[in-house]
């Protein structure tokens, strides 16, 4: 290893990337952390609401506070940080090479392992098939949040939110707190998408929730004036004659996130259609040896704490790869009834694992089962909005040839 080679190059300085970089440094690795912003924290600094760190720090922090704690650790470590640096290309091989552009120039960074933690992007208005005028006042939730809480401007005063997930609900509250009128939250599904703790926002601020409704058209001259919403029947078909026009000057799209994985795709990493992210094993290694991934680049997390946990796991994986360079005998984790996704995709039985999963449809009094392990966990309710995290001990896995996760009433 030449002097400028790194053990671990971490792409993305959000929570998952910061956690990965720090943990890898703790193991003794020589680490570089790259971020395209001029600060660390990823999306956290624009999240001025609380709800961060309940599991990891056992405290309720704002996004900014949570980021600050991780930033502090990085500063106190020997992790090298390259700001305003964008990885343009990644080359795989025994050594991984990253072509990086930054105000310092174009440089090639070489590392034994890469942890890819570049986050996710938001689905936008065109991807939802909404027709009409392409005018001002249409923002993704993240863009609106950045405008308000990083740049300090108010996007509009009559707001319609598309999507009742946590992000949409939090933005509804954010707008209400600044004196805007939130005209409603429109949700495609017959049930709301957010965590229970965020659904109370609708009652707190008296915001109408349109379940089984779909925004189909936005009209306006220069900026949004009105939005066409239709009702859906139980099979998701539009009900003729159910159209209603809601007057609003701003439409906030919070219709889900998509892992940002262009670089991984270009490398030929195997992708899971169910998550839109890479397939990974229990050490968060992708289908390419030495290339790891963590956080929202793998699965869309509801809690930052999980992204951090994943980053740390990936760091452990990277260190393991550097020390031992040995592969486990992988056993497949299969999706059974009512499971939208489950990661990791492969486990070895050599160590404890944490599974993250979501159900496809809500279910009350549900039992989550892993028949191969004769494991059954009862839940009073399981919802797609709430990611399920389960730990499995190494001993439980010893005899299994593979496991299936399923949910039954």
């Amino acid at each position: 290893m030449s002097s400028e080679d790194y053990h671990v190059a971490v792409i993305g300085g959000g929570p998952a990337g910061m956690a990965a970089a720090y943990r890898a440094w703790e193991f003794g690795a020589k680490v570089i952390l790259l971020d395209e912003n001029s600060y660390l924290g990823g999306i956290l600094p624009q999240c001025i609401h609380p709800g961060f760190g309940i599991h990891y720090f056992k405290e309720e922090l704002t996004g900014g506070e949570f980021a600050h704690r991780l930033q502090k650790r990085i500063e106190d470590s020997d992790v090298e940080v390259l700001f305003s640096a964008r990885v343009m290309k990644m080359k795989n091989g025994k050594k991984k090479r990253l072509v990086v552009i930054s105000p310092k120039g174009i440089e090639e960074i070489s590392a034994s392992t890469v942890i890819y933690a570049a986050g996710a992007r938001e689905r936008h208005v065109f991807e939802l098939g909404i027709t009409g005028d392409r005018v001002a006042g249409i923002y993704t939730a993240g863009e609106a949040q950045a405008l308000m809480d990083l740049y300090g401007i108010m996007p509009g005063k009559e707001i319609l939110i598309v999507g009742s997930g946590d992000v949409g609900l939090i933005m509804a509250r954010r707008f209400a707190l600044e004196g805007a009128q939130v005209k409603g939250v429109v949700e495609l599904m017959p049930y709301p998408g957010g965590l229970a703790r965020n659904l109370v926002i609708l009652q707190d601020f008296n915001i109408p929730l349109y379940l089984s409704h779909k925004v189909v058209e936005i009209r306006g001259k220069g900026r949004v004036e009105r939005v066409k919403v239709v009702k859906l029947d139980s099979s998701g078909q539009e009900i003729p004659g159910s159209e209603l026009w809601i007057h609003a000057d701003t439409v906030i799209i919070s219709a889900g996130l998509i892992p940002n994985i262009k670089l991984l795709k270009n490398l030929g990493v195997r992708i899971d259609a169910a998550t839109g992210g890479p397939e990974i094993n229990e050490l968060w290694e992708t289908s390419l040896q030495g290339i790891f991934a963590a956080g929202n680049s793998v699965i869309i997390n509801d809690l930052v704490d999980y992204a951090v946990e994943q980053g740390e796991r990936a760091a452990e994986g990277a260190w393991h790869r550097i020390l031992e360079n040995r592969d486990g005998r992988w056993k497949k984790v299969r999706r059974g009834n009512n499971i939208r996704f489950v990661v990791p995709h492969y486990i070895s039985g050599e160590r404890d694992v944490v599974l993250y999963l979501r159900v496809s449809a809500p279910m009350e009094n549900a039992t989550l089962m892993i028949p191969e392990l004769e494991k059954a966990l009862h839940f009073s309710v399981l919802k797609p909005a709430e990611m399920v995290r389960i730990s499995i001990k190494k001993e439980e896995l010893e005899d299994a040839k593979g496991i299936t996760v399923e949910v039954k009433p």
Binding site: Y139, D149, Y151, M154
Partner: protein, 494 residues
Amino acid sequence: MRYRVAIIGAGIVGTSIARVLSRYENLDIHVIEKNPDVGWGVSKANTGLIHGGYDDDPDKYPLRAKLCIRGNEIWHRWVKELEIPHVWNGALVVALRDEDIKELEVLRRRGERNGVEGLRIISRKELLDMEPLLTPDAKAALFVPNAGQLSPVPAVIALAENSVSNGVKFHLATEVRKIGVKNGAVRWLETNRGRIDADIIINASGLYADSISRMLGIGYFTITPRKGEYLIFDEGIPAPSRILFPTPTPKSKGVVVTKEIGGHLMIGPNAQDLDRKDKENFATTLEGLKEVRDKAKKLWPRIPENGVIRSFAGLRPEPTGGDFIIRSEELWGFLNVAGIRSPGLTSAPAIAYHVRDLLIHELDVKLVEKKKWNPYRKDILRISRMSKNQASSLIGKRPQYGRIVCRCNLVTEGEVMEAIERMRYIGVPQPSIDSVKFRTKATGGTCQGSFCRPKIAWLLAREYEVPLWKVTLKGEGSELGIGDIKVLLRGDGK
């Protein structure tokens, strides 16, 4: 003698005319445009094709037939002189039914009559070798080697910059409201920003050419908007390397499948006639986009359900009679350049020379060539198109070129700043995101600007010295915000 020439409209036609006329010593040229930037009319939303010239029937549409092929030839030179993003990839007009093959023969003969070279009907096998993902139902095709594609708004911008470097003056955000006449000749324009004197007025106002002409009581034609809608798909979704047309119908050349200049699969347009007055209706529709999809699928079966990153609509300025209307009117000094529908983008350079000839022959203007005239214009420096060494040395001198603003299209802060400088150069009076987008491609990628729009707005606000919320998406009325974050709580929100 010196003449003051006012060109109404900074579309592809108005700016082409400006460039051609800027060559002459004795013309003072003013371009008047109601939008705050150039190229935001019909020239903004179209297919961007430089047509081959086989399609227009010289008996029915003599001007279209003549100017299209000539325009195609001139573009081959202009794209190089002006560094306009383009590709000469050729087109295939595909026959899906046996009857269509006869029509291809008609097109081929017509093309030859119009002077198009190299047209050839190719067999199914050769066709599928050229485009392996084309529908297996294809029977044959007309191969049009001289057709190509360019980015229309960047072309208008390039023409405007080149014209300014040759002394043309742009009056942007300036709307013509009335035309002054004295002693049987035009004399001045009245605009929202005051009066502009002119000896010669050239009406190149696109969809509004009929209203401008009617200001002088010249009402022998009308312009009717005909909408066309498009879908653009994410990178990585396979697109043809050549321009794919279906066999045309009398009303339109049909829904085209292309790889647009940015590398994305693009399909469209359909054709929907609107009410004559409905000239600001750029809304996409569910029916329209479905029609585009269904028709494109016939040529290119692999159109995915998902993966759309943008949809948009354009309006064709359809004139009475169907042919271009390019005339020196009886009222001295007034020229109509109207009804420039498809293939107007292709024809624009030839239209410009045609207009010059009208000045010479119909108005008896003696044109004096400038001793020094600059045919060149340099494009913005683009990191994404440079070699590693070129990029490194540029960043070494100007670190801004190392700071990525738009991740999807790899556009740097240096490029955005250069775009803003160039907006200033032609006189763009207000900051808008679209002005930067058309110059740099920032916000035009997979995420459609959700990450970079605020950063670009911030740079625009700083350079134009306006509050951030006043930066617009596309001109007045499309401001990004309503005030600072506390505006509503303070109670001074509008």
